[in-house]
């Protein structure tokens, strides 16, 4: 590979010891750190004839982020400080470095000042690194020569009441970034072919919509559904608000379109039992034993309705049901209309079994109350709530319609209501906030508006996919606003109630979002993957095989070589398999294997800068 060759050439020129350092390995660990003055440039980043590394020319861009950073941190002082750091040839501040003029400023400075390193101190690399890296590339600077410093999430936002110390910390963080920037090396990203197919996990409304959308864009889809039937939770409902259409009429045609689609392969009932690989090349194994490869994955595994065990007499008292059980009753056909129905909102949620608001129970209760009232106007329907959370145009209208139809709303608080049986009839006791007194309501049917909760199996699935769950054990997106249907892991997307409670309309919106995101790599056909992989210094590797046995991805193998040191075995990294964790770097007693972009000298330089005075 040309880079290795270039390194080889450089090594001859610079002597073995230094060459090893340039590769980020060698005797330059803790006891003997690389002098910061030493140029980190790899020979390969220079013109082919250059034998001596060019000096470092670092440009520093400090972002105000409006007042997000600038309102706390003294940005001009940090710029002034940065401009005095060794090798920094240009430092400036931008109101928004990520805006067009900020990006233009970076590009201009690269050519004007001949920058060979760029450091942006702004928000978090987890959302903004790709943008700045692309900008550097556009200006002809290899993206791995870009360094990111987090002054917002890790500084101004968390030290809002200590501006002076936040500024001091900002300076230190910039100094650490500059220290690492000096040692950055250019890297070329391997380009991989993409398997032009997707997998959708879950066949509820979200999964069905995502599968259809991807298939309609022309890519084969494997749809994996655990149950023997499509439609998920929506298929079990009676009517769907805000349109009041029969659930089967809504879900049925979508399920049929999916079943009939020539590009969708249904795996049902089936679950995924094993997953390996990465964006473009995921290898999937199903419970049915089937194996296939896909380029991207959409997770749409939904949520469960909370089983209100031990709450409000459910399971013990007759005629205490959940909203879902009520929907099943209504869907089954006419049932003896009770004279009095009491619905209890937030049953199990907002502080009881779970802390959150489940978002769809208020309109579900209103929907079912309206249906009961319309079919049997004499039935008294009383909704006990602690704030009604209906939002948006359609649902608020329904709220008013329910009131007009005579559905009564009473606010309970602070305690949740209690349900008991008295003389063969149910009785709901609660403190009525409006009337400011305790009340007893007799009821023939008590309906609990229970929340959607994460499925327990999500835990196992999250481990298989290597994507996180949030505090409430729903799947956790990469960024709540900027990347709402992405996972932080490339090539895996999320939609529907697997991400948190929501209604069908929003499930479909998310599904279409996730589907178009998942189709991007498939349409491109190739993907560039991070060049953060390990490399071996074969001169010093003694072939002990420790890295080989520890690498979880089997990316390392011992191979025979015959060179100046004799006939021996050395480690070799398969870049396609290496995931870039760096475990091998930290376990090799010989410091003979090193993770690109996170080399020991780079990390040590940050440690030193963090602790250096001034």
């Amino acid at each position: 590979m040309p880079e290795e060759k270039a390194q080889g050439a450089g090594r001859e020129a610079q002597g073995k010891e230094e060459g090893a350092r340039d590769k980020g390995v060698g005797k330059d660990g803790g006891e003997n750190p690389v002098p910061l003055s030493a140029s980190p440039l790899e020979p390969s980043s220079l013109a082919p004839c250059a034998l001596r590394p060019a000096p470092c020319r670092i440009g520093v861009f400090i972002c105000h982020c409006g007042s997000n950073i600038g309102g706390i941190v003294d940005v001009p002082a940090v710029v002034e400080y940065a401009s005095r750091l060794k090798d920094v040839v240009h430092a400036e501040r931008n109101l928004y470095t990520c805006a067009d003029d900020g990006l233009t400023a970076i590009k201009t400075a690269i050519s004007k000042h001949g920058l060979n390193r760029v450091l942006v101190a702004s928000c978090t690399p987890r959302t903004h690194a790709p943008l700045f890296r692309r900008t550097c590339e556009a200006a002809g600077l290899n993206q791995y020569l870009f360094e990111f410093v987090n002054l917002r999430e890790h500084c101004s936002w968390v030290h809002m009441r200590e501006p002076a110390r936040a500024t001091e910390k900002a300076k230190a963080l910039v100094k650490m970034g500059v220290a690492r920037a000096r040692l950055l090396e250019r890297q070329e990203e391997p380009v991989l072919d993409i398997e032009p197919a997707a997998m959708v996990l879950g066949g509820g409304v979200a999964g069905l919509s995502a599968a259809l959308s991807i298939a309609n864009q022309g890519f084969p889809v494997h749809l994996v559904e655990r149950e023997p039937e499509l439609g998920g939770m929506a298929a079990r409902l009676h009517r769907i608000s805000p349109t009041y259409r029969n659930a089967r009429e809504v879900v049925g045609p979508v399920a049929e379109a999916v079943s009939a689609h020539p590009d969708i392969r249904l795996h049902m009932p089936a679950t995924m039992t094993d997953l390996s690989g990465y964006i473009g090349n995921f290898e999937v194994t199903l419970s049915t034993g089937e194996k296939f490869r896909v380029g991207s994955i959409v997770v749409a595994t939904g949520a469960d309705e909370l089983r209100p065990d031990g709450l409000y007499g459910w399971g013990q008292l007759k005629n205490v049901v959940t909203q879902m059980e009520l929907e099943r009753l209504m869907a089954a056909g006419p049932f003896t209309r009770p004279k009095s129905v009491v619905m209890i909102q937030c049953a199990g949620s907002r502080g009881q079994k779970v802390s959150y608001c489940s978002k769809r129970c208020c309109f579900t209760a209103i929907k079912n109350a309206i249906l009961l009232k319309e079919e049997s106007p004499d039935t008294e329907v009383h909704i006990l709530h602690n704030e009604i959370h209906v939002y948006g145009v359609a649902f608020e209208k329904e709220y008013r319609r329910a009131q007009e139809l005579g559905v009564r709303f009473s606010r309970y608080s602070p305690e949740k209501p209690s349900v008991s049986e008295q003389n063969g009839r149910l009785n709901v006791n609660f403190y009525d906030e409006g009337l400011r007194r305790e009340r007893d309501l007799p009821a023939d049917l008590v309906v609990l508006s229970t929340p959607l909760v994460a499925r327990p199996e999500a835990e196992e699935l999250s481990k298989m996919l290597k994507v996180p769950l949030g505090q409430d054990r729903f799947f956790f997106e990469a960024h709540v606003k900027l990347r709402p249907v992405d996972f932080a892991t490339d090539g895996i997307f999320i939609c529907g109630t697997a991400k948190g409670p929501t209604n069908i309309g929003e499930c479909v919106e998310q599904a279409l979002g996730a589907a178009s995101r998942a189709a991007i790599p498939l349409a491109k056909g190739r993907v560039r993957v991070e060049a953060i992989t390990s490399r071996v210094n074969t001169d010093t590797c003694r072939g002990c095989g420790r890295c080989e046995s520890e690498c979880d991805y089997h990316a390392i193998s011992l191979v025979p070589v015959n060179d100046a040191f004799g006939n021996r075995l050395v480690a070799r990294v398969n870049e396609g398999l290496c995931k870039g964790c760096g475990k091998c770097s930290s376990i090799c007693c010989n410091r003979s294997i090193s993770l690109r972009h996170f080399t020991t000298p780079q990390i040590m330089a940050m440690v030193e800068a963090a602790l250096e005075e001034g």
Binding site: G29, H159, M176, Q471, D552, G582, S585, S586, I603
Partner: protein, 150 residues
């Protein structure tokens, strides 16, 4: 120096002493958790300097020793919860390496409490803030480590 910093972390042992803390956070969980702390505007002591690594398994005993040698008063290592590692078992390696480092510290006569390992997920913004505040407080009470060559 104020007795109580606005982050609510009071110094007891050495008034005016502000410890230097270096933290190593893995990209996928604890660095992301620290991002969430920021997004949620939870406040913590500004003594900490975070160094991002892809995986906690990348953290070598040497990083910790070097930090202490250069004058850090505490080192925090944070990774994904066991079982949640983005790289299968990198955090188990971190656990081993940190245990090994702690034994080394003992031999060197360094208080083991100056090194802390925590599992913090991407959704545990509050835990990140609590951890930093508690660790800063503890290290502040331990006083200056004084291994720095200065």
């Amino acid at each position: 120096m104020e007795a109580e910093s606005p982050s609510g972390v009071a110094g007891k042992a050495a008034p005016g002493f502000e410890p230097k803390i270096v933290a190593f956070c893995c990209n996928w969980c604890s660095y992301a958790g620290a991002d969430l702390t920021g997004v949620s505007r939870m406040q913590y002591s500004p003594n900490i300097r975070i160094i991002r690594v892809m995986c906690s398994g990348r953290i070598e005993p040497n990083f910790v020793l070097r930090a202490l040698e250069l004058g850090a008063d505490g080192v925090l290592v944070a990774g994904c919860h066991i079982g949640d590692c983005h790289y299968i078992s990198g955090n188990k390696e971190a656990e081993k390496q940190i245990a090994r480092t702690a034994r080394l510290l003992e031999i060197l006569g360094v208080d083991k409490r100056r090194l802390r390992l925590e599992w913090i997920s991407a959704s545990e913004g509050q835990k990140f803030a609590n951890t930093v505040n508690a660790f800063t407080k503890e290290v502040r009470e331990l006083g200056p480590a004084g291994y720095g060559r200065k």
